[in-house]
């Protein structure tokens, strides 16, 4: 199997936030923590674009590289997960992540940061698949239920695609060919690698 990936089609995203709601509901994510959010670029300007952003489960994940306690791991399907029992809530991953994915619950004393929380691609965590402990720490494990991420499945316009990278890329490619425009995939190069990623605009790769 190819690895799991997200694609957000900015030509289709209508900023309805159903992906955000689906994620919050599915995993009972606490107040103040948003594993997924919708970002609008050039808001109010003609031609504005919205994209749904969460952890992209990068090929060479910067969060994994900077974690001082090595709490991250990557599954065989390419999903980047973390162990909350090992996380110390230092926030390094938050600074390293180009997508702002790591979230920290701030329900405790002022200034105290809880353990990091982020999108799991609906793949749970290191606890037993489908267990109560896994649900309480990481949310539902939909992949082990033979399902796909709730955000992508609930997307009203199918702007957000999530699943096997080859399959979702094929769906997106077909769309672009049919409509003849909108081939840009925000964050794809940064997350999964490209010659242009990280280069200033206009620079030769």
């Amino acid at each position: 199997m190819a690895r799991m990936k997200f694609i957000c089609d900015s030509e289709r995203c209508i900023e309805c936030n159903s992906c955000v709601t689906a994620c919050k509901n599915e995993h009972e994510v606490p107040w103040g923590v948003n594993r997924r959010r919708v970002v609008t670029l050039n808001d109010g300007v003609p031609g504005e674009r919205s994209i749904s952003v969460a952890c992209m489960h990068c090929s060479d994940a910067p969060c994994m590289a900077v974690c001082p306690v090595n709490c991250f791991y990557r599954t065989e399907e390419g999903v980047v997960l973390h162990d909350k029992d090992t996380c110390i809530g230092c926030g390094y991953c938050s600074y390293a992540c180009p997508f702002g994915a790591p979230q920290f619950p701030a329900a405790g004393t002022f200034g105290v940061r809880g353990k990091m929380d982020k999108c799991t691609f609906c793949a749970g965590g290191p606890e037993a698949n489908g267990s109560q402990a896994e649900f309480e720490k990481y949310g539902r494990n939909r992949l082990a239920e033979g399902k796909l991420p709730a955000c992508a499945e609930m997307c009203s316009t199918k702007a957000l695609l999530g699943g096997d990278g080859d399959v979702v890329a094929d769906i997106f490619r077909n769309r672009v060919l049919k409509r003849g425009k909108g081939a840009e995939v925000w964050g794809w190069g940064t997350a999964y690698g490209s010659k242009q990623a990280g280069q200033p605009q206009g620079a030769k790769s």
């Binding site: 090992t86 793949a123 489908g130 082990a144 239920e145 499945e153 699943g163």
Partner: protein, 75 residues
């Protein structure tokens, strides 16, 4: 004999000054998702057999195409 005893006692006493192991415990193992969750439908999608990796992969591919490729639904 006495020297050996003194040295061994000294080694035992100095052991307390040694640095503790500070290596993080690392990553715990995680069960592969194709093993399923032992939940009954609707909490597990029907049409695949937990424990069979190829079957699980096929299930996800079919679900992706049927659920996310609207050109399949509307030709």
């Amino acid at each position: 004999m006495r020297t050996i005893l003194v040295l061994s006692l000294a080694a035992l006493a100095l052991a307390a000054c040694a640095e503790r192991e500070q290596t993080a415990s690392g990553i715990r193992s995680d069960a592969a998702p194709f093993n399923g969750t032992n939940k009954q439908p609707p909490f597990t999608a029907a049409g695949w057999k937990p424990g069979d990796r190829a079957n699980w992969e096929q299930q996800l591919k079919v679900r992706t195409v049927n659920g996310q490729n609207d050109y399949v639904k509307v030709p």
